[in-house]
């Protein structure tokens, strides 16, 4: 499964990593960071509903406690990467070289999103989450 964190407009940045970043591309980086945050937030909120034993958990397809802890640790790492991204993008004045590190961090977040979604068993709530993310299998 692949889930899009970076918006398509990032392609323009990808074509010239390490080069200067005019405001338009800085804004694209902001959109990508907001996208990453929205995805991670949706995953965190949905997964919390699916943990076995909670009243919101489905009768089948709930997330076992051990898996939940794995997911929490992955989410923690992903949000920490996102914090680094925010700091990087926030500090970038238009015209500064930045993009390679931003892409690296977005890639780390993307990898964690893929792992987390693979951890979560199939259920209606998960299907709804995947639909929100525009994911496909």
């Amino acid at each position: 499964m692949k889930y899009l964190i970076m918006s398509g407009v990032m392609v323009a940045m990808a074509s010239c990593p390490g080069t200067s970043v005019p405001q338009a591309q800085r804004h694209q980086a902001v959109v990508s960071v907001v996208s990453a945050h929205a995805v991670l937030s949706a995953i965190q909120d949905t997964e919390a509903l699916l943990v076995c034993g909670r009243v919101s958990a489905p009768p089948s397809g709930c997330v076992p406690q051990a898996t939940h802890l794995v997911v929490l640790n992955r989410l923690l790492s992903a949000f920490e990467y996102e914090k680094q991204l925010v700091g990087l993008v926030r500090a970038v004045p238009p015209g500064s070289p930045t993009t390679r590190e931003i892409f690296g961090l977005l890639g780390q977040v993307q990898d964690l999103v893929d792992l987390i979604l693979a951890d979560i068993p199939p259920s209606a709530l998960k299907a709804n989450l995947v639909g929100q993310l525009g994911g496909q299998s």
Partner: protein, 68 residues
């Protein structure tokens, strides 16, 4: 991940966040480039939420003895 990966994503799936979804609702307001000050305000607001989410995760992990 590198530039070719990004381009491959676009070509493979033309994947977009589902319009009308909660995720899309968070992204749509920032799509328009309203300038660096608006972008920075957005990042500051996002950082606050991220800190709260990290704190919640750490609290839960600590409560289960699985904290970092």
């Amino acid at each position: 991940m590198n530039a070719s990966d990004v381009i491959a994503w676009i070509r493979l799936g033309q994947q977009v966040f589902a319009e009308g979804s909660k995720v899309w609702a968070q992204i749509k307001p920032v799509l328009k480039d309203s300038g660096i000050e608006v972008d920075n305000a957005q990042l500051d607001s996002l950082a606050l939420d991220t800190d709260q989410r990290i704190a919640r995760i750490k609290a839960e992990l600590n409560a289960t003895g699985e904290g970092p």
